[in-house]
């Protein structure tokens, strides 16, 4: 593997194809950004849950049709699923050994999460427009 010290190849050519370098720090950074964003979002959403708890259909619809409540829920859906995708990816990368197993597992889990996020958002749009 080790190149002879008098190799004519450039450092970039030696490194290319060997390392991780699929993406840099942005995965780590987005994990933190979404975490910070979710502190107020989760607290607001829990307040909304408290108000919805025990309410009937009409009341629940009315609460979610409030633009502020709908905005909080939509932002939570986006941020939460994004945060979940980043987090689950790291866990899979750490514990699944084979390249193919790892890549296919990450793709399948992300596909399911994207489907759930889309269904959640579309349901919210439907509720808001009832």
């Amino acid at each position: 593997m080790t190149e002879p010290t008098n190799s004519m190849r450039t450092p970039l050519a030696k490194a290319r194809g060997l390392g991780s370098a699929k993406s840099g720090v942005h995965h780590w950074w987005h994990q933190r950004l979404t975490a910070i964003a979710m502190v107020p979002l989760v607290l607001s959403a829990l307040y909304l849950v408290l108000r919805i708890a025990g309410s009937d259909y009409e009341q629940a619809i009315l609460l979610l049709q409030n633009p502020f409540n709908a905005a909080i829920l939509l932002l939570l859906i986006i941020t939460g699923f994004w945060h979940a995708m980043l987090g689950v990816q790291v866990v899979i990368e750490d514990y699944v050994g084979s390249d193919w197993g790892r890549i296919t597992t990450i793709m399948m889990v992300k596909a399911v999460l994207i489907l759930l996020a889309t269904l959640s958002a579309l349901s919210l749009f439907k509720i808001v427009s009832i």
Binding site: R32, A35, I36, M38, V39, V42, L46, L50, A53, Y57, A60, I61, L64, I77, G80, F81, A84, G87, V88, V91, L113, L116, L119, S120, L122, S123, L124, K126, I127
Partner: protein, 126 residues
Amino acid sequence: MSRPRPLSPHLSVWRFQLPAVMSITHRITGIILTSGTVLLTVWLLALAFGESSFNLVSLVISHPIGQIVLFGYTVVLFYHASNGVRHLFWDFGKGLNIPGVYASGRIAVAAMIALTIGFWALVFFG
């Protein structure tokens, strides 16, 4: 690899340590929270589909088993949130020493318990 290489970490030879247990619990709770998002999606879908499906989901939620699942989900959520804030402090370089890690760990567990009790007190008596 001609000879067996050392394996790390040697989980079985270590005494129980709070930071290690809290670290793996953070991952486990993260996976549970991710799996539990399906409940949020089902609830929103039921509400979007109309009154009868919403009433069915409400019936499941109000059943004791539904209540236990929701209670468990809030415990998991409050753990992951409290310990997540602990991680954010570490990201800013705060509390990165052995006594600090233990102290913030105990604070995170206490915050989880306080938030869980507070939330459910508001649900039933708020």
